[in-house]
Symmetry: C2
Amino acid sequence: MALIVQKFGGTSVANPDRIKNVAARVAKYRANGDQVVVVVSAMSGVTDNLIKLAKEIMPLPSEREMDMLLATGEQTTIALTAMALHALGVAAVSLTGAQAGIVTDGVHTKAKIQNITPKAIHELLDAGTVVIVAGFQGQTPQGQITTLGRGGSDLTAIALAAALKADLCQIYTDVDGVYTADPRIVPSARKLPEISYDEMLELASLGAKVMQSRSVEFAKKFGVVFEVRSSLNDNPGTIVKEETKNMEDVVIRGISLDKNQAKVTLVAVPDRPGIAANIFKALADAAINVDMIVQNVSHGSGAPATDLSFTIDKPDLLKSRKVIENLKHEIGYHEVNSDEKIGKLSIVGVGMRSHSGVAAKMFETLAREGVNIDMISTSEIKLSVVIDLAKAEAAMKAVHRAFLG
Amino acid sequence: MALIVQKFGGTSVANPDRIKNVAARVAKYRANGDQVVVVVSAMSGVTDNLIKLAKEIMPLPSEREMDMLLATGEQTTIALTAMALHALGVAAVSLTGAQAGIVTDGVHTKAKIQNITPKAIHELLDAGTVVIVAGFQGQTPQGQITTLGRGGSDLTAIALAAALKADLCQIYTDVDGVYTADPRIVPSARKLPEISYDEMLELASLGAKVMQSRSVEFAKKFGVVFEVRSSLNDNPGTIVKEETKNMEDVVIRGISLDKNQAKVTLVAVPDRPGIAANIFKALADAAINVDMIVQNVSHGSGAPATDLSFTIDKPDLLKSRKVIENLKHEIGYHEVNSDEKIGKLSIVGVGMRSHSGVAAKMFETLAREGVNIDMISTSEIKLSVVIDLAKAEAAMKAVHRAFLG
C-alpha cells in the first residue's frame, strides 16, 4: 500500500468523458489498496473563458479579483471528479486549495506556497477516501483566495507530495515522458527511464515544455521524486529525481531545439564600461527576456569596439529593436542587425561534468553536416549553439546520432 | 448616509454589460455617501449548465459535491461585479459566502443559515469599500461549502440586512414591484407602494412568483423591511414590512391567479374515520404537494359517503391518479375524476380581518360574470376559489374592478 499523488492537467479533464477516464485510473490504484490524492486543473478552455469575461469588464482587472474568478475553474473540476469516482462506487471528497490546507503568501496571481497543513487530507485518506484537491490555488493566512500562476497545478501536486511524504507523485500529461529528443523531429529518440532535476530544469527552460521550471525547482528543493507519464496509456513514464552516481555514466541525457528565438546584433559598440549594463537594463525595463548573450571584438577600424549579440523570444523582436534604436544616440553603435531564422540546439547531461571532449564532438558533428555556428553558450551540464534554422532539424538528428545512437 | 443591502438576480448579471449596469447603479448610491453591500446570484444559465455537466457524470450526484460545484456560479459573479466597480473607480471587494461569515447547518443543497459574523463586512464598509457577497452559499462551522436552495440569494440579502442592521434592503428583479394583479391580465392593475409580510406570503405562495416564501418568512421573523424593485429603471418599488394599523383600511391588497393546478375528485368515498388520512399520506409519500382540499356530502343513495376534491400542480396529475387508483380497493370510492382546466383565483388582504362582506362581494361578482365556483377555501387574510380556466381571466378582471377599481 502506497500513498500516491496524481496530477491531471486541463486536457485530461476537458469534458465529462475524460473526467470519467481519470476516475477509472484513480479507481484502479485505489482497488490496489493505495491511498490516492488527486490534483486537477481547470477543464481546458475554462480559464481562458473566465479571462475573456474579465477583460470584457475591464482591461486590467484587479489581481485579487482575478484569483477569486479563476479559482472557480479548478473548484468545478474537483466536484465533477469526485462525482465520477462516486459513480464507480469509490469514496471520494473534493477539497478547495484552502480546505486542503494550502497556505500561500498574498501575492495574487503568482502566490508562493508558504506551508501546507495536511491534517484534513490525512484524516480522509485514513478513512479510505480518495481526496481530490483543486490545483493552482491556495489561501492566505487571512483567508484570501490566491492562485499560484502558470504551472500551478504541478506545483500543488509536488508540494502536497512533500507535505504528505507521499511514496509516489505522478504528473499525468499528454506525452509518454521525457525523451532524448522530440520524437517528431528525431524518430530514433528514446523515452528516458530517469532524469535528474538539473537535467530536467535545463530541458524545461530549453523548450522541452513538459513542465514549468518552477515545479521542478520545488521538487529538487524538497527532494520530491516524481514521474512524468501519459494519461492516455499505462506505459511507465520518466522518473525525475536527484542525480545519482550512475547517471554520470551517460554523457548526454537529451537534446532540445528551440525554434522560437531571434538574434539581435549590435555592430561596433564602443568598448566603454557600463554599455552592456545600459542595454540590458533597458531591455529588462521593457519586460523583454534575454537568453544567450555573446560579445566579441569587432573587426572594424577606428576606436576599440565590440560586436554584441543576444537572443530573445521571437515575439519580442520588434519591441527589442525599438528599445535598442532608442539607445543609439546614448551608446553610439554602428548598426543593429537581427535574425529570426535561427535555432538554438542544446545538449544536456550531468555526465558532461566528468567527460571531456563533449564540446569538440558537438562542433565536429555540426561541421561534418556543414552547419555554421553563430553563437555558443555553456553551463556545467549544458552546451547550446545558435545555428541556421533551415539546418536545425538535420543538425539535431546528426547530434542525436553522434551522442545517443 | 445609510447602510444598504442590494440584491441582483441572475438576469440582472447575465452578461458583462448587465454587470456594468449593476455596477453603475451601486456606484450612484456610493457617490451619495451610502455604504453598500451587494448580493449577486450566478449569471443566468450558469447554474443550469453546471447541473447539466454533473448529470452527464452521474444521474444523482452527491449533494456535498453539488454544493462545491454550484458555489462556483456566484463566486464568478462577485469577482466580475467587483471588477466592474473598479472600472468606475469605486473601491470594491468580493467575498464568498464563507468569507462573508455566513454559517449554515450541514444540510447540503438546502442548508439553513445558522448565524452571520459580519465582522469582515463591517471593516470593509468602514474603510469605504463596497462589499460584494456571493448569494445562495455559506459554510458549515467545519468549513464545508453549502448552498441554500431555491431563492437562496434573496435569503442571503435579507439575512445580511438583519445581521448588519441595514437601513434598507433592496431586492432588484425584472418587475417594478408587487402589483394588485398581474398587469398582463389586468391592465388597470397598480403597483403597491407597500404590502405586509403576510400578504406577500399569501401572494408568493399563490403564484405571484416575485419571491420565494422562505425569504419573506425570514424577513418577517427578523423584522427586515425590504423593497422589491426593478433593475431596469429607477422607479420606487414595493416596500414589504410588518403590518401597520392603516394597512387594514385597504380591504384587498391584491389578486392572484394560478393556472397551473389540476383538480382531482373522488366520488362517493365511504364516510369512515381515517380515509382522508390514508389518501393524503399516500400522496405525500409520492412527494405530491396538495394545495386546496374540499369535502362535501355525496348525493348518491346507499351508505353515507362524501365527495372529496383536492388540487395539485398540473405536472403531478398522472402520478396522483395512479396513487389514488392504487388505493381504490382499500378505500372503496365510486370513481375518480380529474380536471386540468381550472384556475385558482385568490384575493388577499389583511383588511379582510376587519371588514365583513368580502366573501359575499366576491361571490356576487363572479355570479354576475356567469362564473361557477367549483371549490372555495379561506384563510384569515385570503379567499381562494377554483373556477373554469376559460373564464378565469375575465373573472380576475371583474374581481379587480369590484375591489380595486
